[in-house]
Amino acid sequence: MLQSAAGAAEHGMHEGHEMGHASFHGTVDFAGNGFDPHEILRDFDWGKTTRLPSGRVLREWELVAGVKEIEVAPGVKFEAWVYNGRLPGPTLRAREGERLRVTFRNGTIHPHTIHFHGLHPASMDGVAGAGEGEVPPGGTTVYEFDAEPFGLHLYHCHVRPLAEHIQKGLYGAFVIDPKQGREEADELVMVMHGLDTNFDRENEIYAVNGIGFAYMDPPIRVRRGELTRIYLANLTEFDPINSFHVHGNFFHYFPTGTSLQPVELTDTVMQCQGQRGILELRFNRPGRFMFHAHQSEFTELGWQGFFEVVE
C-alpha cells in the first residue's frame, strides 16, 4: 500500500525517534495505569471546603497510600507505592491562611506517613516519634495545620528506609496560593522524579509526572502570548540534582514560590532533591519548543517533552 507523504509525516509525529529524539519502544497504556501525565499536568486538587465557626475556611482531603502496578515505560511494570493511585500523588492546593485537614489512610502492608513541607506543629510533622508517628498498615491519622507560607511545597512519606519510600512514588506537590492570588495564567505542575526499576539505587527512567517521554507526543499545548506558570518540584531520588531547561524562551524564576519577586530571568534552573520553584513565561513564537533536564542522561532516559505553541 502506498503511504502518502502527509501520512508518513503524521506517523513520524507518533514516534519520537523518527523525529531524531530518544524515545521508548512502543506506547504506555495510560488507561490501564488509571492516570495520564497530560491530565496530572493541569490537575489541582482543591479538596472540600467548609467554614469554621470563626469564618475561616477549612479545607479537607483524604489521601490513601496503596500499592499499584504501573506501566512506567511501554511493557515495563513497576510496583509503585502511591497516594490515591497515581504517580505523583494529587497536587494539593490551598490558599494562604486556610485551615488544612488531611485524613491519611494506609492501605499497604508497610507503615507510612505524610510529611508536609510548610509550617506546622511538631505533632503534625509526619515522622516517627512525632504525634501519632508512623501509621501502621490499615491505620488512619489526621494531619491538621495552617496553610503557610504561600509558595510551592511538597509532601512525601517519611518512613525509613527513606529513599525506598520516596522513590517508589509516595510524594506530591503542595501549592499554597498567596492571599491576594497570582496573575491569571495557564498553570502546569511538573514533578520531576526517577524510577529505579531494577532496585540498584540508580534510576533507569527519569520522568515528569509519572511517565517518561509522555510530553513528546502529544506535546503540551500552550497559547501564544498567554502567561504560563509552571510549578516545578524535584522529587528525584539517588541523583543529587535535577534541572529544567526550555528551548527558545526565558522564564522568571521564583524559588519555592515564597516571594512574588522573581530572582532571575533564565532558561535553565537546577533543583536539589526536595527543592522546588515557580516558573513564569510567555511563548511569543508559534511552533514546538523542547523542554528537558539539562542533564543529557536524564533527558534521553525520559525527562524531555515539547511545548506546542498555538494561537
Binding site: H17, F24, H25, V76, L195, N198, E300, L301, G302
Partner: protein, 388 residues
C-alpha cells in the same frame, strides 16, 4: 530365590521401574505438583548475550534466556539513553534465543554499554569494550581467516618439524631431554587452554553448564584419544614412534582449533590487530609445537607425505577454528572446545611420559626435569608475544 512357575524375563524387570517413573512423573505433572504450592517470590530473570554484531548505525545482540522463567524485552538503552530497536517481540522461553537490533550511531573504537530492560524492570547490560564493525562473512573474509590460520597454524608447525634431521643425530640422553621439553610445552598449553576455557565459560550462557563445559570437553577428548590410541597400539605394533607422533599432532591440532576460535573471534570484535608482530609471535609459539610432533620420530624414517599429514593434523584446525570464531562465535561452544583441546593434550602427555625414562627407569631424572621446565619457559616466553 526360586519361584515356582514362570520367571519374568530380564528385560521386563528392567522396564518396570522405568514405567513406574514415567507414571509418577505424569501423575505429578497432571496434579500440578501436589503439596508444593505456588512459587516463592518473583520470576528470576537471567539473560546471556551470546553474540554481538556491529554494523554501521546498528548494534545487534543475540541473547539467550539462561534462567528458569520466561523473559520479555521491553526497552533498550545504549549509554544511558533509550534507543529504538526491533526484534525480541515475543516472550523468550527458557533457553530460547532472540535477536535485538538497535539503531545507534556508534563510533569506531569507543566503548558502549547496551542495556535491555525487561518487562519487570530488570536490566541486562552488555559492555562493548571497543566498537568495530563486524566483518561480513563473505568469501574474502573466509579467505582472510584461512590465510591467518595458515600463518599461525600450518606454516609454523611445518617449520618446527624441520628439526627432524637434527633430532636423528642427537644422542639418546639428549633425546629424552627433548621429549621432556615437548611435555613441558604441552603442559603449558593444557593449563593455558583450561584457563582460557574457564574465562570463556564465564562469558557464555550458564544454563549449558558454564565452567563444567570445559571439564566435560576435557574428559571427552581424553577418553576419546585414549580409545583411539589403544586402537592404534593394537593395530600398529612396533611403530610406537609414529603412533606417538600422530597422537601429539592430534592433541596439538585440537588445541590449535581452540586457538583459532580465539583468534577469529578477537578479529571479529575488532580486538585483534592483524599486525606482523602477532603473526610472528604465533609463528614462534607454534614452531615449538612442530618440534613436539617430530621428537617421537627420531628413530624412524617417515615419508614426506606422512610428515605433511602430521603437520596438517596439527596446524590446519587453526583455520577451521578461525572460521568458527569469526563467523559463529559462541562462548559456550568455544569453552567446550578449549576444554576439549586441554583434555587431548593431557592424554598426549600421559602417552609421552614413558619416553622420558632413562636407563634406570626414572622418569623425573635431572635431564627430564630440566627439559620440562625449559619447555614451559619457552611456551611462557613466546605466549607473551601473542597475548590476545
Amino acid at each position: 530365590m526360586q519361584a515356582a512357575g514362570v520367571r519374568a524375563p530380564a528385560w521386563v524387570l528392567g522396564l518396570v521401574p522405568l514405567l513406574l517413573i514415567a507414571a509418577a512423573i505424569g501423575a505429578f505433572a497432571l496434579l500440578d505438583g501436589p503439596g508444593l504450592g505456588e512459587r516463592n517470590g518473583i520470576p528470576i530473570e537471567d539473560v546471556a548475550v551470546e553474540r554481538t554484531v556491529l554494523e554501521p548505525d546498528a548494534i545487534e545482540l543475540t541473547i539467550r534466556n539462561d534462567g528458569p522463567d520466561a523473559v520479555r524485552i521491553a526497552q533498550a538503552q545504549v549509554n544511558d539513553a533509550f534507543v529504538p530497536f526491533t526484534g525480541a517481540d515475543e516472550e523468550i522461553g527458557r533457553l530460547g534465543t532472540a535477536t535485538v537490533r538497535i539503531a545507534y550511531p556508534w563510533n569506531e573504537g569507543e566503548a558502549y554499554d547496551v542495556t535491555l530492560v525487561t518487562a519487570t524492570g530488570g536490566t541486562i547490560t552488555h559492555a562493548i569494550d571497543s566498537a568495530a564493525e563486524t566483518p561480513d562473512a563473505d568469501l574474502s573474509f573466509f579467505g582472510l581467516m584461512a590465510l591467518l590460520g595458515l600463518y599461525v597454524g600450518v606454516i609454523p608447525v611445518a617449520l618446527g618439524m624441520l628439526w627432524l634431521p637434527w633430532l636423528r643425530r642427537v644422542p639418546a640422553g639428549w633425546l629424552r631431554t627433548l621429549m621432556a621439553i615437548t611435555v613441558g610445552l604441552l603442559a603449558f598449553l593444557a593449563v593455558d587452554a583450561t584457563f582460557e576455557g574457564f574465562d570463556l565459560a564465564g562469558e557464555g550462557s550458564q544454563a549449558f553448564g558454564g565452567a563444567a563445559l570445559v571439564v566435560v570437553g576435557a574428559v571427552v577428548s581424553y577418553l576419546a584419544l585414549t580409545g583411539v590410541s589403544g586402537w592404534l597400539a593394537t593395530r600398529r605394533k612396533g611403530r610406537r614412534g609414529g603412533h606417538l607422533s600422530l597422537l601429539v599432532a592430534t592433541g596439538i591440532g585440537l588445541h590449535n582449533l581452540g586457538e583459532g576460535v580465539a583468534i577469529g573471534s578477537s578479529y571479529a570484535v575488532g580486538a585483534l590487530a592483524l599486525g606482523a608482530f602477532l603473526v610472528v609471535g604465533f609463528a614462534l609459539h607454534n614452531t615449538t609445537e612442530g618440534l613436539a610432533i617430530v621428537a617421537p620420530l627420531a628413530d624412524e624414517q617417515p615419508s614426506l607425505g606422512r610428515l605433511a599429514l602430521l603437520g596438517l593434523v596439527a596446524g590446519a584446525p587453526a583455520i577451521l577454528g578461525a572460521w568458527i570464531g569469526a563467523a559463529a562465535f559462541n562462548a559456550s561452544v568455544a569453552a567446550f572446545l578449549f576444554g576439549f583441546g586441554a583434555g587431548a593434550i593431557v592424554q598426549v602427555i600421559v602417552q609421552l611420559a614413558p619416553t622420558l625414562r632413562d636407563d634406570s627407569g626414572r622418569t623425573l631424572h635431572p635431564g627430564a626435569v630440566a627439559g620440562l621446565l625449559g619447555g614451559m619457559a619457552v611456551m611462557f616466553g613466546t605466549s607473551l608475544l601473542v597475548a590476545l
